[in-house]
Amino acid sequence: MIKRSKFSLAILMLVLVLGVFLAACGGDSDDNNDNNNNDDQTNDQTNDNNDDNSNDSTNDEGNDNDSASGEPQMGGKLVGAMDTAPAGVFNPIFYEEAYEANILDFTHEGLLSQDDTLQFGPGLAHDWDINEDNTEITLYLEEGVKWHDGEDFTADDVVFTYRSIASPGYIEAGGVRTEYVDKLVGYEDFVNGDTDEFEGVVAEDELTVTFKFAQPNVTILKDVAFPIIPEHVFADVPIGEMPEHPGTLDAGEVIGTGPFMFTEMLEREQYVLEKNPDYWQGEPYLDSITWRIVEGSVMLGLLENGEIDFIADPNGVAAQDYESVAGLDHIKIHEQADFGYQLMGFIHNHRTAEDAESGTINPDNWVPNEDMGDPLVRQAIAWTIDRQAIVDQLLLGHGSVINAPIAQQFWAYDESAATLYEKDLDKAAELLDEAGYVDADGDGYRDTPDGEEWVVNLNYPTGNELRERSAPILAQMIEEAGIQVDLRQPKEMTAYVEDLTNNTGDWDIYLLGWSLGSGDPDPSGLWRSQDAYNFGRWNNPDSDQLIADAITPPDAFEQSYREEVYSEWQGYFSEDLPALLLYAQNKIYGFNERLNGVNPMPYGFNNDPHLWWVSE
């Protein structure tokens, strides 16, 4: 049995549901001040190794921003660049890629949005009530919100959106967002086709909607924050045909409530967003924003000569290009840590061939991995890795060493409980000696306690340039401790994941990266013993218990309780080492100084675009 991942909103998702939050902030200048403070926080937290560099520049940028910002001006066009074209599915319930998010961030909104401390605030809903036991939430929608085609936005649209995700055939049509609906009352019956009534989401009246959950829900706000699609466009479209409907695919037909309308595209090259003059939070300043798909080769040149105005999500400016961008007078830089991390995983156990065949994940059947199953060996290997050097040299300082498998931006991240591994060959040697791994035959490499030749193999996938580069470097670091490493040929991701999932072979160490959601820090889905993505087949009942405790009501309604539990769990993690976490990369946004009013959130750049304006 695989349990559903409760990792909250995908970064992308979250970015989408932004929008509002104006009510909480004062004027524009306050915004900017907030922005500066946030920058400082983010950087202090994530870039301690790189103070002089990024911190300064961010501060400068902030100050510039203040001095440059006069009165916002109406009009103007903006050009953004991304390096890969969106797949072309412009529907929040079906898209899967960050590149589409760059369009949908501007066109669609959710009921709630997240602020810079990752707390949920108002969006299309201005207020909400949660009942005593956290099973019901009633949201009050903004009045007078119109879809891009002039229709009124109502509670029925909310019901329609969630109902679509819950409907039978949604998954078969290619949708993957069921985590937003499967906790709702009556989901099972509805998705199995036993009933046509979906009780989970109910429109009380035009502007009031109630979500009913089967169990007390710790992440209730996250679950109701999904971007809303228009009922009047898709009402008569069977769910199976929705992905191919013009309202999903075609510029001009994609309808949202957001500040910009997706009006034109030259597929794989240009995507044009024009302002929605009737936007409910006020008319956007900009006339249009155009996304251009530009290969990295020319991106910087275009940024320099002003043909493009900003490079932001999902990849930002490459760390190696930081200096050249920072050297441009008219370009500002905003740098912040990414949600996610790269890891060097240890295979604790192998699965049996029968289990792999049938897809069973049962820790009782697992076969311990010789050598790598010994915690002393794992710790020893962890002590051979100079993670700081990797961050400094490979990432050129634009990233940070991460010590726990929770995104650093969360309140739950607590490295004080974790062992802070660094390069210490003496310690590694000590641990290996203790575990009985000594060089028995004098060939310069340590052998197993039985005196047999010991070779640790290291596997890695292609697809991430930095990770590919890190593999031979990591192998070399481990070898310095006298451990013979067999650096395997890189595999293309699909084949790699297949092998990693089956895990019936002889793997010892694997490299992988996870991008995490910014909705909630809950690590289930990745690290519990029965999780499919627990590729190392780490089996630790204590850890499982802690992960479960952290989201078990009623205690878990208190954030302080969750903090404690997560802190303890992070300690377990770093002792038992299902993986050594390597680094979290920084995202580097670069934008032309003529662009004002930008206020990037920890999870993305495309925040409040209706407040963006250009000075000429």
Binding site: E295, G296, S297, V298, M299, A318, Q320, D321, D386, A389, I390, Q393, L394, T462, E465, E468, R469, P472, I473, Q476, L487, Q489, P490, K491, E492, A495, D499
Partner: protein, 308 residues
């Protein structure tokens, strides 16, 4: 294992049949060899190619850097005294990768040529000698192979393989590109088949194997050598092109093609021409030299072609 056309040529005369040759004191190979030596461009190219081969084989003499050793503290550096062509994205020395990479590229080119040649001689001999059904089956298969989109097949095969080693890579290339050579060899055989000396040999009861070995191969050897040489150049380009788009011999093994693939990263393309231009030039001059040699050989074996 390195290509050495001259050697191939000079070892052949023993096999030369005397039957239908005019009674000159020199075998056709010696004649061809003489003619080849008169072609300055070809000879210079041959010397040049040998030089490249020797430099690559003796790579350890020319550089004391390990081409696969990474250095975290020397990533993407420009040229220095220690690394005269700088370092790549994992801090490996570009110059030593150029030399050691040459070994792999040349080895792949040569072994793919050799492999194709084996298939081609085998199938071409069968088809050309026996004719009839054998011929039509082999030739139909060759026709089909020729009409299939070569790159599509190669890329699909490589994409699904879990591991790409040099022998596997060579096999893929050979298996997808045997028809050309097979056709050429068959054609030569067909023209020889009805000639007197073959009929004579058959009449005195020579075995098929003996006839093929003693009469056909020596007479077909000219076009075979010429085409094999030109084919090797093609294979070197194919290796580099596939490696360039990430479907070749994977890192960390250096090849000229995967060195060039680093230039897909614009930063390297723009800021580090010293990292990608040398392997490109290496491929270029090697292929150029082989082509000149091939042309020289063609003129040498088929003097008529020169008159055009």
């Amino acid at each position: 294992m390195q290509p050495n056309p001259q050697e191939t040529l000079s070892t052949q005369p023993e096999l030369t049949p005397g039957d239908n040759q005019k009674n000159t004191s020199k075998s056709p190979f010696q004649l061809a060899f003489r003619r080849f030596l008169k072609n300055k461009m070809a000879v210079v190219s041959l010397i040049f190619l040998l030089l490249i081969v020797v430099i690559c084989i003796l790579a350890p003499v020319f550089t004391d850097q390990d081409p696969e050793l990474t250095d975290l503290f020397k990533i993407e550096q420009g040229p220095t005294d220690e690394h005269i062509l700088g370092t790549n994205g994992t801090g490996q020395d570009n110059f030593s990768r150029l030399l050691y990479g040459g070994r792999i590229s040349l080895l792949v080119g040569f072994s793919a040529m050799f492999f194709t040649l084996t298939i081609g001689i085998l199938l071409g001999s069968l088809a050309g000698y026996y004719g009839g059904k054998v011929d039509s089956i082999i030739m139909r298969a060759a026709d089909i192979m020729l009409m299939l989109p070569f790159l599509v097949l190669t890329l699909t095969i490589i994409a699904i393989l879990e591991k790409i080693t040099i022998p596997i890579f060579v096999t893929i290339i050979a298996v997808t590109s045997w028809p050309n050579l097979t056709r050429i060899i068959r054609g030569t055989y067909l023209s020889l088949r009805e000639q007197e000396f073959v009929l004579g040999a058959r009449a005195i009861g020579a075995s098929d194997f003996r006839i093929i070995l003693k009469h056909f191969i020596p007479n077909a050897i000219g076009p075979i050598i010429v085409n094999a040489t030109l084919m090797m150049a093609t294979y070197i380009i194919i290796e580099s092109a596939l490696s360039f788009i990430g479907f070749g011999i994977p890192q960390p093994t250096p090849t000229w093609g995967n060195m060039l693939s680093e230039a897909m990263n614009v930063r390297i393309l723009r800021d580090h021409p010293e990292a990608w231009i040398p392997p490109g030039i290496a491929i270029f001059v090697t292929v150029l030299a082989i082509n000149f040699i091939g042309d020289g050989l063609r003129d040498a074996f088929d003097p008529k072609s020169k008159q055009r």
